[in-house]
């Protein structure tokens, strides 16, 4: 039997087990909350997991490319990129899928695990993109918050700009308080 011929019930079983393991990574209180509430707006993390994980399993069993599989997980990875996970924890949930495929015939498992590995690498690419995005939005915000007028005001009336900023020389100073952004 090819992976693509995996019965739907088995695919659902794999996804269900994977979901349970991923939820467990959040600790018991959060796992309960993320699992219990079905409303997508009252529980965005749980909803993302419930929709993305089965879609990724389907894509994987259908022999889709690792990038396609990872794209199914994009919402989850975007979330995990800002949760309190280390990079390995944030993407480690993809590898956990390998431990959820016991219902597959033994002959198919190696192929399945190989695809999971590839998907995990593609997922890490997405994770890196989202982390990069976090840096970008931080810089974008600093640009927005310092004005269009701060720069024009400074250009007109140096050294007294009329705005009291923190000293750049200070160690722990928020970017947005430094006044050194364009």
């Amino acid at each position: 039997m090819a992976l693509a011929d995996t019965p739907r019930t088995q695919a659902a079983a794999i996804a269900s087990r994977w979901l349970a393991q991923t939820l467990a990574g959040y600790g018991p209180a959060a796992a309960r909350a993320f699992e219990r509430q079905p409303d997508p707006f009252a529980n965005p993390v749980g909803h993302a997991l419930r929709t993305a994980l089965p879609a990724a399993v389907q894509a994987l069993l259908a022999g889709q490319s690792p990038q396609t599989v990872a794209a199914c997980l994009d919402d989850v990875i975007r979330i995990r990129a800002v949760q309190e996970f280390s990079p390995s924890q944030a993407i480690g949930f993809v590898l956990q899928l390998k431990a959820c495929c016991e219902c597959l015939p033994e002959a198919e498992r190696a192929a399945f695990c190989e695809q999971v590995d590839q998907a995990a690498l593609a997922a890490f690419d997405l994770y890196a993109q989202h982390r990069q995005r976090v840096c970008e939005v931080r810089v974008n915000e600093a640009r927005r918050l310092t004005g269009p007028y701060a720069g024009r005001r400074s250009a007109q009336s140096q050294p007294a700009s009329g705005v009291a900023h923190s000293s750049v020389a200070d160690g722990e100073t928020s970017i947005t308080a430094r006044g050194d952004c364009p």
Binding site: P148, Y149, E172
Partner: protein, 550 residues
């Protein structure tokens, strides 16, 4: 024996152990873990000194030694006793929680991150456990069995972490069957930390600025004048109208107070231009003030004394300038203070008159006490009375949704007025899902002094529920503009959207009004205030006589 190219070679079950997630230990045994991106820099000594606050020192959150003052435990416990005696609500909130869990999954920080200490019930328990140990017989005798614990340095660190992961948005309070206001528990926690000289710099520096200059950003009078001049030029470029916003005009009928973020930061600057255009068109006898140059009041995130100190300038300036009443701009926590605290802190403002719109004659009975009217109430009245000539088609390039800012929505019940205004100035308005708006609105994740950048991951986690709802209307209705009547929202929601719903920009409601406003003597309009092209350029309006659009 499997070889290395075979999966069986690798000890799968060891490799596939779930990655180390959150600690599984009891919350009382789990010390706080300060990771970059998840905490805010502490208040600098120079800012505490400006405000004469005790125990000013420079320190870092990741230091093992936070240089707590000698006898710090007694300071905190005496501070707690003082507040329990002074605020009956605090005493009740400490006693009456039955841990039903109704609030547990209502906080945006818990929903975005899953840290159980961000469940409102547990966040309050951080303080309650110390209260039990020191102020209840059961806690003193039974200790941990009764949910009590000692006040230790780790507890102080935990308070700092989690009371600065609460935006005091009060969403959890909506669901509490006992009406416990967890925001006020956070406020008490922050006040107690303040007794030890522990603040976050993103709050205490704006407070120090506001104390000296009248606004959080430290804009001095000449800086504000310069800023207005730039805005006047930009308004003229977009509309052909040259406005002349008065500053510190004695004897004006109305003092206009708005958050200083709107003077400096995009997109708030467009909202400020909107105020100027609107008042110019109405011929309003009003004035801005360089002293009361911030409606916002980060004192609210510091202590009740500081709230009062900073708020006092509004009434003082109203008295100095001799105005009749005060009009307030699109701000968030300013309105919670005005609505709930100002009148008893610095009022009653007997020297002012009950606000009456000089354009429509409407008397704002709801502001009889504070003498301060919200710009949305003022605008809704103008529109209802037909005193504005509006062309909503000028906003046809925008597909708008509305974010109820926490404080105006939950702090003062301002739900209908902004929607009424938006519906009159836009053709394309779409609500987000019902459980994410109005009283149940989700916070931007950056309120109450959290809107800085070093805690960006934390803010983005907290912004997930809001961003998720925005993305829904973006995908379903093509929404490209998120309207909000709060300066913190206008500063932080663009970032939330950038990450969770890229392509959606943020706007103030008055900016939308100014776009739609048909002005006397305006030039043909081809762009909105941002310089973005209109879907259908207008022919312009010839100058007309008399009051606006009678």
């Amino acid at each position: 024996m499997p070889t290395p190219d075979q999966p069986e070679y690798y000890p799968q079950h060891d490799l596939l152990k779930p990655p180390a997630g959150p600690p599984q230990s009891d919350w009382m045994d789990t010390p706080v873990d300060f990771r970059p991106g998840s905490y805010i820099y502490p208040g600098k000594a120079k800012n505490l000194k400006i405000l004469d606050l005790p125990h000013a020192r420079d320190w870092s959150v990741t230091d093992a030694d936070w240089q707590l003052p000698a006898d710090w435990q007694r300071t905190v416990l005496e501070g707690m006793a003082d507040r329990l005696g002074k605020y009956r609500s605090f005493q009740i909130f400490m006693d009456c929680c039955v841990r039903c869990g109704a609030c547990s999954d209502k906080c945006h920080f818990f929903l975005g991150g899953g840290d159980p200490k961000n469940m409102p019930v547990l966040r309050a328990e951080l303080l309650r456990s110390v209260y039990r140990k020191n102020f209840t017989a059961l806690g003193k005798v039974l200790g941990r069995i009764a949910g009590a614990r000692e006040l230790t340095v780790d507890v102080i660190k935990e308070w700092f972490s989690y009371f600065y992961q609460c935006t005091e948005c009060r969403r959890c309070s909506v669901f509490c069957p006992f009406g416990i206001d967890t925001a006020e528990v956070t406020m008490m926690g922050r006040e107690l930390l303040g007794l030890l000289g522990i603040y976050v710099n993103w709050v205490i520096e704006p407070v120090a600025n506001c104390f000296r200059y009248g606004n959080h950003l430290g804009i001095q009078p000449h800086g504000l004048r310069d800023t207005f001049d730039f805005m006047i030029d930009d308004i003229e470029q977009a509309t052909g109208i040259r406005v002349d916003p008065p500053l510190n005009k004695k004897g004006a009928e109305i003092l206009f107070v708005t958050p200083s973020g709107d003077f400096v930061a995009d997109p708030g600057t467009y909202t400020c231009m909107g105020y100027m255009l609107l008042f110019h068109e109405l011929g309003l006898d009003y004035t801005f003030s360089t002293y009361a140059s911030d409606g916002g009041n980060f004192g609210l995130f510091t202590s009740h004394e500081m709230t009062k100190r900073l708020n006092a300038k509004i009434y003082a300036e109203a008295r100095r300038l001799g105005v009749k009443w005060i009009l307030g701009g699109e701000c968030g926590h300013m309105w919670r203070i005005v609505h709930q605290y100002m009148d008893t802190m610095n009022g009653p403002a007997d020297f002012l008159e009950v606000p009456r719109s000089p354009v429509t004659g409407t008397v704002f009975e709801n502001a009889r006490s504070t003498k301060m009217v919200h710009i949305m109430e003022f605008l809704a009245d103008l529109i209802h009375e037909g005193r504005l000539k509006l062309d909503p088609a000028r906003n046809d390039h925008l597909r708008v949704t509305f974010h109820d800012s926490c404080n105006p929505a939950r702090g003062m019940g301002l739900l209908e007025e902004p929607r009424y205004v938006i519906r009159n100035v836009c053709h394309h308005f779409f609500e987000m899902p019902a459980n994410t708006i109005r009283e149940q609105t989700f916070c931007c994740g950056g309120g109450a002094g959290l809107g800085t950048d070093e805690n960006m991951e934390m803010r983005l986690r907290g912004g997930l529920p809001r961003g998720n709802a925005v993305r829904y209307v973006q995908q379903r209705h093509g929404v490209n503009r998120l309207a909000a009547i709060c300066a913190v929202d206008r500063a932080t929601l663009p970032t939330v959207c950038d990450y969770w719903a890229p392509g959606v920009q943020v706007t103030g409601v008055t900016e939308l009004v100014a776009n739609a406003l048909v002005l006397r003597g305006e030039k043909p309009r081809s762009t909105d205030l941002r310089g973005e092209p209109l879907q259908t350029p207008t022919a312009g309006e010839s100058a007309h006589e008399g009051p606006a659009h009678d």
